[in-house]
Symmetry: C2
Subunit: 185 residues, 2 copies
């Protein structure tokens, strides 16, 4: 059964960007990150990706995804309105989903060919995945940084967040620590 | 040189107690925790302990410290006023410090005989240690729990929190993950 895997990188104090919205302090290892063992496994296991609009738009040039994105799989982007500029579709298919997260995850599941659905952010999308019981696994990379402010990953989780089981804690290069949790149902 | 080591247990979403102030969900392994490798090392390396008043008072019976506390070393308790009930002093010495954290750490350093000063909480005491540049090492245990609310460990860190280096990430029994960071100066 395909799993819904949500994951992001956060500072030790729980932020996914700093007060100015920059993620630079969390990705000093950007150039080599995709060669790490958890990322290679994730790329191998992922059949479709779900992301929020802002996460999608962080690449200044939408075409970036076609050539450079780690996950060369069907991508489902949550949005309120269709964007003016689509990426050119190489081997990738882009679907802009306007009827909410649950629909995006269902469409991604249908496209994933039995592989995992990976939700790459942003924070609000991941929070909603956890709150709505959609997430099966939570992957958190902790960077050895205190940002002191910014956007919190774990916020707005509702009154009764799920129980977790730690699956693994891994020291990665560059001070990055990979934590993987299974959501208990 | 003795180090000032600050440390607490937090939920994955960064809380040290739940909305009702309970720490129960973070210590299902309370009975065996002191036998874990990081705790045994900490007990061995610690020459004096600093704690906030609320952390001290969490033991309903102050005498609890004399017989049961992990750290059988001189203890410095931050307080605004002298408490009515002192613990009976077995092998322990208790000092109630009314002139602030920096004074408590200095007194603890003098009492620690060259060993580490361990700051065991609470959150505000640890925040102040980080903010005021007193902390040399940050030990965080992450439990596989989302509390969704409560008291945040990493908050109020000021405009310019220090850089960190990860020293170790360790999987402990019971889903506990031990993360150790060095404060870079």
């Amino acid at each position: 059964m395909a799993r819904v895997v949500v994951g992001m990188t956060m500072s030790l104090d729980g932020f996914i960007n700093d007060r100015e919205g920059s993620v630079a302090a969390l990705y000093p290892d950007f150039a080599t990150l995709r060669d790490s063992q958890p990322m290679r496994e994730s790329i191998q296991n992922t059949g479709a990706v779900v992301m929020g609009w802002k996460t999608f738009a962080m690449a200044n040039d939408p075409d970036w995804y076609v050539g450079n994105y780690e996950y060369q799989v069907p991508i489902f982007v949550l949005t309120r309105a269709m964007p003016e500029r689509h990426p050119r579709e190489g081997g990738l298919s882009f679907t802009f989903v306007t009827d909410g997260l649950r629909s995006a995850v269902a469409q991604a599941r249908a496209a994933a060919g039995g592989k995992d659905i990976t939700v790459v952010g942003g924070a609000r999308t991941i929070q909603q995945c956890i709150r709505d019981g959609l997430a099966d696994e939570i992957n958190i990379d902790v960077m050895p940084v205190l940002l002191g402010g910014g956007l919190r990953l774990f916020d707005n989780l509702g009154a009764d967040p799920p129980q977790l089981e730690r699956e693994v804690a891994l020291e990665l290069p560059g001070g990055r620590t990979h934590l993987r949790f299974r959501v208990v149902r």
